[in-house]
């Protein structure tokens, strides 16, 4: 049998149709997916690698429990986990894969603000709900159409609370030193305003991340003789800064975010260097049922704030989808606040909430990280802060506000 060439000569229309099919193939694949697919996008490697694996596991524990109990809207939940590498370029590649190939309707757990800023437009343009633990205030000011919800107090609130703490402790000269991040300048502006109102000096310096030494930067900041320094970086650079400050003979006080002066930093540095350093963080609700759940799920005594938050993200996504009767991104966005706040029955896990919803009730999810109530732009309202002080290489509670 011979086939004439003409038979296989593709017409312009065929080529165009083929191209259209190729372009549309992710959507076709999505339509072919049997279950509901959610994604986590946490920093499994890079400077956030300390937190990413347990953040992923905390979210996965919720989806596993729901799937084992019969699923969501009668379907199993498939979880696809990707690694941001704590690197915006890698995170964008990963979220493209989650959206285009896996067809997720929810992305959970972006950690560094630079990463959330990079992946957020891809999420809202594709109608994917993004739950994040990033703090930069600029994130929820993006034109995200409701597709961003964050459980981390924003950087303005964090810096205000820490600045007030520094003044309460009697600071007479403040300084901020940190790398270039989406919240660096706003942090400096807030502290400068607080220092100005209190009539004291305030010095600031933005350095380049990933350097092996910051001696010259420390020399520069020391010229104003500050007696209370705030660190604005992440763990890797804060280790170097703390060491360099100590070696320079600084005798004043230091405060840093708990994610920067974290257990690995305390392990890596001699106790002399970290003695007396204050840390602060949005405090998980350690007394609540959700916190106990995530502790049991992870098999740990103390849950870090970010794993507590991704546990909440997963519960919120499941309950919002169940309340809407639809696990798509737009439906979850629209029904999120109907299950996170209000007069409904208080629940601390998705299974209990699903039962209430199945019986025609309404729920108010109260999470491991706090009440999980969101304002109009996706920021949480109502959160506690925990201040610790390092002594003998380990943190102990100083005060809660």
């Amino acid at each position: 049998m011979t086939i004439s060439r003409l038979t296989f000569a593709p017409s312009r229309r065929t080529v165009l149709a083929g191209a259209a099919a190729l372009i549309a193939s992710p959507a076709i694949l999505r339509a072919q997916s049997d279950g509901i697919t959610f994604g986590t996008l946490t920093p499994l490697t890079g400077v956030g690698g300390t937190y990413g694996p347990s953040m992923r596991d905390a979210a996965a524990s919720v989806f596993t429990a729901v799937s084992q109990a019969g699923g969501l809207l009668g379907q199993q939940i498939d979880l696809v986990s990707e690694d941001t590498q704590t690197n915006p370029e890698a995170a964008v590649r990963a979220v493209r894969k989650l959206i285009d190939v896996d067809g997720v309707s929810v992305v959970i757990g972006t950690w560094a603000s630079s990463i959330t800023t990079a992946v957020a437009p891809l999420c809202w343009e594709n109608g994917v709900m993004l739950f994040t633990v990033s703090g930069a205030d600029s994130i929820t000011r993006l034109p995200h159409m409701g597709y961003i919800a964050r459980t981390q107090p924003n950087s303005i609130l964090q810096i205000q609370v820490a600045g007030e703490f520094m003044l309460r402790q009697g600071a007479t000269g403040m300084a901020w030193i940190g790398p270039q991040t989406p919240f660096a300048q706003s942090s400096i502006d807030i502290l400068a305003e607080q220092a100005g109102a209190a009539g004291i000096e305030m010095e600031s310096l933005i350095y380049e991340a990933d350097k092996s030494t910051y001696r010259s930067e420390i020399d520069t900041i020391m010229r104003s003789n500050p007696d209370f320094i705030m660190l604005g970086g992440y763990a890797a650079d804060s280790t170097v800064v703390l060491r360099d400050i100590w070696q320079a003979g600084y005798e004043g006080r230091i405060i840093g975010p708990a994610y920067a002066v974290n257990p690995t930093v305390l392990e890596a540095l001699p106790n002399d260097v970290t003695e007396g350093v204050y840390t602060w963080e949005g405090a998980p609700d350690v007394t609540g049922g959700a916190y106990a759940n995530v502790r049991a799920a992870l098999g740990v005594d103390v849950v870090d704030p970010y794993s507590a938050q991704t546990y909440d993200h997963a519960n919120l996504a499941v309950l919002a989808a169940a309340a809407a009767g639809d696990a798509g991104g737009p439906a979850i966005r629209d029904s999120l606040r109907s299950i996170s706040q209000g007069d409904g029955t208080q629940v601390s896990d998705a299974l209990a909430g699903l039962e209430v919803l199945a019986n025609g009730g309404s729920v108010n999810y109260t999470g491991a990280s706090g009440p999980c109530d969101f304002d109009g732009i996706g920021d949480i309202t109502g959160t506690q802060f925990l201040f610790n002080q390092i002594s003998g290489g380990s943190p102990s509670e100083f005060e809660r506000v």
Binding site: T45, V47, I206, S212, T213, S216, T239, V240, T264, E267
Partner: protein, 288 residues
């Protein structure tokens, strides 16, 4: 701000001396094997972690730890070169250079697999800075500087006076002529890969002594190392030292005129300026 000039200069000299060791390794490998081996990034990390195991796990002091950094990074350098890069050299320097970037990612992830992502510090006593007038210097930095200088002197002496050093220079200058004289270029290549990556490993650990290390430690230094080698003249060992000093001092002194957030721009700027006005680098490309 000018009152800080002497301090910045001191900081720059110390940074430059530390940068010189991996830059020498990088440029020596380029001189003999004729490709830029960007796997120096992961080999610096290998050296830093090898030193960490000897120092923290086995409890030995800095010098034996540095020796282990040299040996392990050197061995990994030879093996990875034989397995991953040597088979590609016949396809050209660009292909091999790209493969070396892939290699560095592979090695970095192997380290991550065994050691995890956490920051780790060496078990060395930390001491406060000492002051010489207006300049403060840390004793550990002085020790690192002395070690770097001693190692550089040993490298120069080996290149100048030993038979193998002369063979290396011969292969670097003219591989065909060296072959005619009966010099085994393959053996010389292996020794250069060993010694070059060994120096990179020592540099990685010396950097780590002043800070903490993680699997990305070496990757952070790839730009200044490359800039130092290019500025001095790719393939020139003394050039690498000069280039390292220029980049190290330049980065620290840049704080006088630039926001510290743009420190790395100094490395890029140095590369651009040298490639524009003196493409073969300040000292040309002769190995010695």
């Amino acid at each position: 701000m000018l009152d800080l000039l002497p301090q910045f200069l001191a900081n720059g000299i110390i940074t430059g001396a530390l940068l010189a060791l991996p830059a020498i390794g990088f440029t020596a490998i380029f001189a003999v094997l004729r490709f830029p081996n960007f796997a120096v990034a992961s080999h610096a990390t290998v050296g830093a972690f090898a030193g960490l195991v000897v120092n923290v796990t086995w409890g030995l002091p800095a010098v034996p730890s540095l020796m282990s950094a040299f040996l392990v990074a050197g061995l990994v350098g030879v093996i990875s070169d034989e397995v991953a890069l040597k088979p590609l050299r016949k396809y050209g320097a660009l292909t091999t250079a790209i493969a070396s970037i892939a290699l560095t990612i592979v090695i970095e992830n192997i380290i991550r697999f065994f050691f995890g992502n956490d920051l780790r510090g060496y078990d060395l006593p930390l001491v406060r800075d000492i002051r010489f007038g207006e300049i403060r210097v840390n004793p550990q930095q002085l020790e690192n500087l002395a070690l770097a200088v001693v190692i550089m002197i040993v490298v120069f002496a080996a290149l100048k006076f030993t038979r193998m050093g002369k063979a290396m220079r011969a292969v670097a200058d003219n591989p065909d002529l060296a072959d005619l004289k009966g010099i085994d270029a393959v053996l010389v290549g292996r020794i250069v890969a060993f010694a070059g990556m060994g120096l990179v490993g020592v540099g990685g650990m010396l950097f780590g002594l002043g800070t903490s290390i993680d699997p990305l430690t070496g990757f952070r230094f790839i730009l200044p190392i490359f800039a130092a080698a290019v500025v001095g003249g790719l393939g020139s060992v003394p050039g690498a030292v000069v280039g390292a000093m220029i980049v190290g001092i330049g980065e620290e002194m840049s704080a006088l005129v630039l926001e510290p957030a743009y420190k790395s721009a100094v490395g890029f700027l140095a590369i651009v300026l040298v490639l524009t006005f003196r493409p073969r680098g300040l000292l040309g490309e002769r190995a010695y």
